[in-house]
């Protein structure tokens, strides 16, 4: 009987203590639950490092009006639309050309010229050109800060007429110097475009 009384007193005491706890606890909870959310407007993100466009322009060394433009545009980046590939101009046989390549981000306005970054970080980039035509040769003219080929500026020498493909690959952080092959250069691919190639 004595024990029971004691227990009851104790229970009452604890009840009182608990009554103090609960409002404090609820208050803390309530305060946090209401104050920790924010309603900031969700901003659009336009990826400025996205490459949407590759333009390879060839100008004949002997005839400034003989200009060829290889162009691939994928305006939705990783979206479902395929790149739109166009080739304008005529490549003549047995002719030398000066080539220059541009990488652009046309998904934002104004258009961002990513080629500048590629040149600036030339030691971490390299452009590779491969043609299935045997006597179609491409030479990289420009060099990076370490004196290794970069490949933004090129010269081309065409041979006999024929059709094939021209593949342009931009690698980020390749092994430099390398053997100028895709398999030997390593790195990760930032751009890989294949153009139909017709030498007339």
């Amino acid at each position: 009987m004595k024990m029971k009384t004691m227990k009851t007193t104790k229970t009452m005491k604890t009840m009182k203590t608990m009554k103090n706890y609960i409002p404090v606890l609820s208050l803390v909870a309530l305060l946090c639950m209401t104050s920790c959310t924010d309603d900031n407007e969700v901003q659009i993100i336009n990826e400025d490092e996205l490459i949407t466009t590759v333009e390879l322009e060839l100008t004949s060394s002997s005839d400034a009006t003989n200009v060829i433009l290889f162009k691939s545009v994928d305006i939705d980046g990783d979206g479902p639309d395929d790149p739109v590939i166009t080739v304008t101009g005529t490549i003549n046989a047995n002719t030398s050309y000066d080539g220059s390549i541009r990488f652009l981000n046309e998904s934002i306005a104004p258009t961002e010229n990513i080629t500048e970054e590629v040149i600036e970080e030339g030691d971490e980039h390299e452009v590779f050109y491969n043609s299935s035509l045997a006597d179609f040769s491409i030479t990289k003219v420009d060099l990076d800060a370490n004196g290794n080929p970069l490949g933004v500026i090129t010269t081309l020498q065409t041979g006999a007429a024929g059709t094939g493909t021209l593949t342009v690959v931009l690698r980020h952080e390749p092994t430099k110097p390398n053997d100028n092959t895709l398999s030997g250069a390593g790195g990760e691919t930032d751009v890989q475009v294949s153009f139909a190639l017709t030498v007339e």
Partner: protein
């Protein structure tokens, strides 16, 4: 099978001992309630050395006869009481009165019945990882420790990002409850490991099903309960300190836990951990950029008495983890090069530096708990918690974005729950609870990369009730029901082309709220009603055998990744697409467990089957070309899945037996006078997962595996234990064919169509580990020396996301010193 060598050992040993002792001693006493001194009837007194259970009578008295002189471990349990473990030396007849504390088990969901295995507290199959094992993994990850449980495997990204898989399921299908708090750390991501310091755990319990309804009904894979050290009402300061060093990674960890307890009920607990590792090494090369650095702290203060108590706890976990440099690739051609090369394309000298790609995570947890017991009724618990999780992922980037995170997400979660338990009835416990969760996800727009997971606000309100009924000593029945309403409201920009390609412009036109450039701003909003039901029965035949069966039905809502992900996955060169029209998953699982603990054998067999309707998984749906070349597209789709499997755990002790000299020796003598000499422990698991929609195997199912360990106790020297273990993993021969064809430019300028083999599974492998462990009896100090992968075996693991790029880690020597105080 083992009987013959056993007999031989026993015989050999028997020559060494000649004198016999009489086994006629009696231990008796009375078992009472600590609080009101009432006698406790039907308390179970389990004598470990004899593997026998004795029951107290109506007046609380018990008697254990025919005892041999010596040391005994006795565990006394009573329905609804904390199990008490006592070590006692008996060399004459003895009286031992024991008082048990009622209701002290704060964290146990279901109370224990007459069960000799304290890892079986409900009808659900569950396994407890002991404090000793947890300590051994002080320098590893939570996932690594969990993988010691049969039926649990891990999904890895490298060696530091380790996610637990229970019965073939992982991610948001597995709930992790850390100290009563459901962990919310973006667990839906395949490359997201739990942000929990394993050293804050005292024990870890794995429940292989959806039956822990108190913590949510959607864990259709299972629930992991991490329990901190128990609070004791005694003036004492205890804890431990562990330092550990390893050769592979050339680093180590240090951790300490200090607990200060007062008899008044006040207590303070603190755990501090720091870990630093450099690059791991495979047998043939350095795994460049795989270093990691982790720091964690947990502080707790509280007041605990039998009738009421409250606590406040804060935990912080931060980790920076390097991701294998060679696994960051640009397109499918790079992946093919990597697969064909057979070794990473980038191998640098060993370094502690961590560069991109890497992950940086921080997790804060703040929790408050208060409870009160009501005499003659039960207990009421109120919990509030706040969690803040920040995750940053760094990729290889160009220009001014180099060094800027590609993903930076803040996830805030708050929970409030009220839980009540009524245990005033003799054989029945009722439990009920309600809880409310609110969650805010805010990706940082400054990354300049389109958000992987959009901004969202989510909330969940739920209630559960369950009952556990013990109709007799041998039976336990339980059942429970839970309902949750989950609501998610997101704001996401879709590329217009993607939105239209998926047909959302027609199906979900109502979500569109604006258009900016080539992106559409949308506000998808969904609500899911989730039901969970569980019922089970357990039959305890006697001290040696028990059998249980549990049925559960549960729903899981699609997670944000499954709903919204949209973009290129850099490690697998795939485009992954979420799906807005996903329905909830519906799982029906039957789990059975049969347990034997007889003589030298401890065996548990756990077969199960899980039917999941509308199982959400990634399925290849085609190829898309971008400026980087062609990528396969994987989209989340719903199929019906059937998973079944079996887990087996067995341990067998080889003992040296002391002789029985007298003819009339009591059998207890034979059992007691044995000394553990060798013990063989085996874990096996097998799982078979199929999509019944198209009769294709499910992807990422753990291959069959066997782990075996042989331990030699007191090997030549007292307190020196030597062990050798083997981990054999078979090749997974059941996998879906997700290979795809792409055109890859070769060095001659031709485009070659190649198959990208992302489906084939690595070959079987077998790893050997050896270990030595020495315990200084007086100093409470233990030294563990371990060599993992001692043969430096070269292998790849099907469940490692980096298996396309590099071998697993090679030989590793570890030294660990544990000091308990």
């Amino acid at each position: 099978m083992f009987t013959k060598p056993l007999v031989a050992i026993a015989l050999l040993a028997s020559f060494c001992y000649t004198h016999a002792q009489e086994c006629t001693l009696v231990l008796q006493g009375k078992i009472t309630d600590f609080h009101d001194s009432q006698p406790l009837e039907l308390a179970q007194i389990y004598v470990v050395q004899l593997q026998k259970t004795y029951i107290s009578k109506a007046d609380g008295s018990y008697e254990i006869t025919d005892l041999c002189p010596g040391n005994y471990n006795i565990s006394i349990s009573h329905y609804d009481c904390d199990t008490k473990k006592i070590k006692i030396k008996i060399n004459q007849n003895k009286t031992l009165n024991i008082s048990l504390e009622h209701h002290i088990n704060d964290l146990e969901e279901v109370k224990i019945l007459a069960d000799v295995h304290d890892n079986h507290s409900s009808t659900q199959s569950s396994t407890r990882i002991k404090a000793k094992t947890v300590q051994q993994y002080s320098g590893a990850s939570l996932g690594d420790a969990l993988a010691t449980v049969s039926g649990v495997s891990t999904l890895k990204t490298g060696n530091s990002v380790v996610k637990p898989i229970i019965h073939g399921l992982y991610g948001s299908r597995v709930a992790i409850v850390n100290d009563g708090l459901r962990q919310q750390d973006q667990e839906w991501g395949v490359e997201h490991a739990p942000n929990i310091d394993i050293n804050t755990a005292s024990t870890i319990e794995v429940i292989k099903g959806a039956s822990a309804l108190r913590y949510g009904g959607d864990a259709i894979g299972g629930t992991i309960l991490i329990t901190p050290a128990r609070v004791i009402a005694k003036d004492t300061l205890n804890g431990h300190a562990i330092i550990q060093g390893q050769t592979n990674g050339r680093g180590g960890s240090a951790t300490t836990t200090v607990n200060n307890y007062r008899e008044s009920g006040w207590y303070q607990q603190a755990t501090l951990t720091y870990k630093k590792l450099g690059d791991f090494e495979a047998p043939d090369y350095v795994l460049s950029n795989t270093g990691s650095e982790t720091a964690a702290v947990k502080l707790g203060v509280g007041f605990k008495t039998f009738e009421y108590g409250a606590s406040a706890k804060y935990s912080y976990y931060q980790s920076e983890i390097g991701i294998l440099r060679a696994s960051h690739i640009g397109n499918a051609s790079d992946l093919v090069r990597s697969i064909n090369s057979g070794q990473p394309l980038i191998i640098n000298d060993f370094t502690y530096d961590i560069g991109a790609p890497k992950q940086q995570v921080a997790h804060h947890g703040l929790q408050f708990n208060a409870y009160k017991r009501f005499a003659g009724l039960g207990k009421l618990n109120i919990d509030y918690s706040f969690q803040f999780n920040n995750r940053q992922e760094y990729d290889i980037r160009r220009g001014e974005n180099a060094g800027r995170a590609s993903l930076d997400m803040d996830l805030q979660t708050q929970n409030i729950s009220v839980y009540g338990m009524v245990d005033a009835f003799e054989n029945t416990i009722y439990e009920a609870g309600i809880d409310y969760m609110t969650q805010v996800n805010r990706p940082n727009a400054a990354t300049e990369v389109r958000r992987l997971i959009p901004d969202y606000d989510a909330n969940k309100v739920g209630a559960f009730t369950s009952v556990t009924y013990n109709p007799s000593e041998n039976w336990m029945l339980d059942a429970g029901f839970r309902y949750d309403r989950y609501h998610i409201n997101a704001t996401k920009f879709y590329l217009q082309s993607r939105w239209e390609d998926l047909g959302y412009d027609e199906q979900f036109a109502s979500f569109e709220i604006g258009r900016e450039g080539n992106q559409i701003k949308t506000q998808p909003e969904f609500q899911y009603d989730l039901f969970a039901f569980t019922a089970g029965a357990k039959y305890v035949l006697n001290s040696h055998y028990d059998l249980s069966i549990n049925l559960s039905s549960a729903n899981r809502a699609p997670n944000p990744s499954e709903l919204f992900s949209d973009g290129l996955h850099h490690a697998l060169a795939t485009i992954e697409l979420g799906r807005l029209d996903l329905r909830k998953e519906q799982s029906y699982k039957i789990n059975t467990a049969f347990h034997v603990n007889k003589g030298r054998l401890d065996l548990e067999i756990n077969p199960y089957v899980n039917f999941v309707n509308d199982f959400i998984q990634l399925v290849p749906t085609g190829l898309e070309t971008t400026i980087r070349g062609a990528f396969p597209v994987f989209q989340y789709e719903q199929i019906n899945a059937r998973l079944y499997g079996i887990d087996l755990h067995a341990s067998y002790d080889f003992w040296t037996k002391k002789p029985a000299e007298e003819r009339h020796t009591h059998p207890n003598e034979l059992v007691y006078k044995a000394v553990k000499l060798l013990s063989l422990e085996t874990n096996m698991s097998y799982i078979h997962g199929t999509s019944t929609s198209d009769e294709e195997p499910l992807i990422d199912m753990p291959p069959a595996q066997i782990q075996t360990q042989l331990t030699w106790y007191n090997a030549g020297i007292e307190n020196l234990d030597l062990s050798v273990s083997n981990h054999a993993v078979f090749q997974q021969n059941r996998f879906p064919d997700n290979n795809f064809l792409v055109s890859i430019p070769n060095d001659e300028g031709q485009l070659i169509t190649s198959t990208v083999d992302i489906s084939s599974t690595p070959a079987a492998y077998s790893l050997w580990n050896v270990g030595a462990s020495y315990t200084f009896a007086k100093a409470n100090t233990k030294i563990n020396l371990t060599a993992n992968n001692v043969l430096n075996t070269q292998y790849r693991n099907y469940l490692n996301r980096q298996r396309f790029y590099a071998d697993e880690v090679g030989r590793d020597l570890q030294l660990q010193i544990i000091y308990n105080f």
